[in-house]
Symmetry: C2
DNA sequence: CAGGCTTTGTAACATAATTCACAAACTCGG
DNA sequence: CCGAGTTTGTGAATTATGTTACAAAGCCTG
């Protein structure tokens, strides 16, 4: 599909810089790894093997090692990986070693729920710093400590506030329009909750969260 | 055992109960097809080719045909597919030709947002018919027209109300517990919003919706 | 109603992702 | 500091998924 994108330039001395195609699934698993490592770290455990890491996620240990191998050599033969070190390095690879700045477009039901998701978001290093809506009655004040502006000013605010990722929870029908605006403002990553396919230039990455599809496909497996 | 765990990781093809091996991705695309077909149907268009259907979703036309071929022969050479007929048949395959009955566990922020998602859900043939929470203050009345019961009565209600799918939006930490209860009550499909892996027997299907992972992986692709 | 045109369904091919398997690297107890 | 025991990192094999290509089927125009 339109998933083929360049990878980020290396920000650390790992061989990731040149590797042109890392499977999307690998990236998602990296994210899972950090979560497990976080837990282990909390329990005061200092080292972990690919086997243990895999078991915690239902993955083959070779897959864990191979995933990590995309980015360098982090392990010690005969010992495994140092939990904290590995966690730090993966976070650095993912770019979540600093706070990721999110904007929310569409302060409806789902949008507000996302605004109140602060606990989880905070813990994972994200922060919703601004929201937008087309309804003038919702604009002006704050919701859950987040200022809400009118979409007509979105471009300006997105730039000024150095937004990394836009979350779309607008009504179906205006999603593409809003997307175009965001991209004009320099946004390159979108998390789309609207059940509509977005047409975007190649340098823009869209992830879809589609509840209806999840439910429909679950329905298939009912028996 | 390993198979079971692997299944829970959520991203790989699992041997579905009866149908030998239809890729999970195929099922999700079927769901997308119905959406496109719905739109075409609305516009009064009566036939559609695999090319057109694919174009609408950014897919290769052969993939569309192959996906459909898993389930039979629906098309007419030289003509394409009859929109309404195809839609009906796919819905029948997915089991969404009747209302799918959902239960929501955890009436927090996200849970309430899902309860208010009625418009979209209704349109797609789902219905949240009951909700549960552990907080006695939330229990008893209705939220968005949906009765809320205490989790301690969950098993009974799930059975009595013939629930198909359980949506989990409970606080991290109790997800596994709630899952076990639901499975004891005969539930075989779970949509899990909690950022935690669920251990379930083989016959139970779990789909994960994990916002943090979506954001983290988007973060990777930034610049 | 014949023949050119279109589009299906699928077999063969191509690509991608995962798992296996093992040499090499390192640990650690004694 | 040696040797038995682990565990890594990675080619090779396997499995899964997607694409190409085309014969067969059916439409439709003249």
């Amino acid at each position: 599909m339109l998933d083929e994108l360049r990878n980020q330039a290396g920000e650390d001395p790992s061989p990731s810089a040149d590797n042109p195609k890392i499977p999307k699934a690998v990236i998602k698993r990296l994210s899972l790894y950090t979560r497990v490592l976080q837990k282990f770290s909390m329990s005061g455990i200092e080292k972990i093997s690919s086997k243990e890491l895999g078991d915690a996620l239902g993955l083959n240990s070779a897959q864990v090692r191979k995933d990590l191998a995309y980015f360098g050599q982090f392990g010690v033969p005969g010992l495994g990986y140092y939990v904290e070190e590995l966690r730090t390095r993966i976070k650095s690879i993912l770019g979540t070693d600093r706070t990721v700045r999110l904007a929310l477009v569409g302060v409806g039901n789902l949008g507000q729920a996302l605004l109140s998701y602060t606990t989880q978001f905070q813990r994972d290093g994200f922060r919703v710093v601004v929201a937008f809506d087309a309804d003038k009655r919702k604009v002006g004040g704050e919701r859950m400590g987040v200022p809400v502006f009118h979409v007509s000013d979105m471009g300006r605010h997105l730039k000024e506030m150095a937004i990394d990722i836009v979350m779309l929870t607008v009504p179906a029908g205006v999603a593409q329009q809003v997307t175009d605006l965001a991209i004009q403002a320099g946004i390159t990553a979108i998390l789309n909750f609207v059940p509509e396919r977005l047409l975007v230039p190649e340098h823009v990455k869209v992830h879809y969260v589609d509840l209806s599809i999840e439910i429909e496909s679950l329905s298939y497996y009912l028996k």
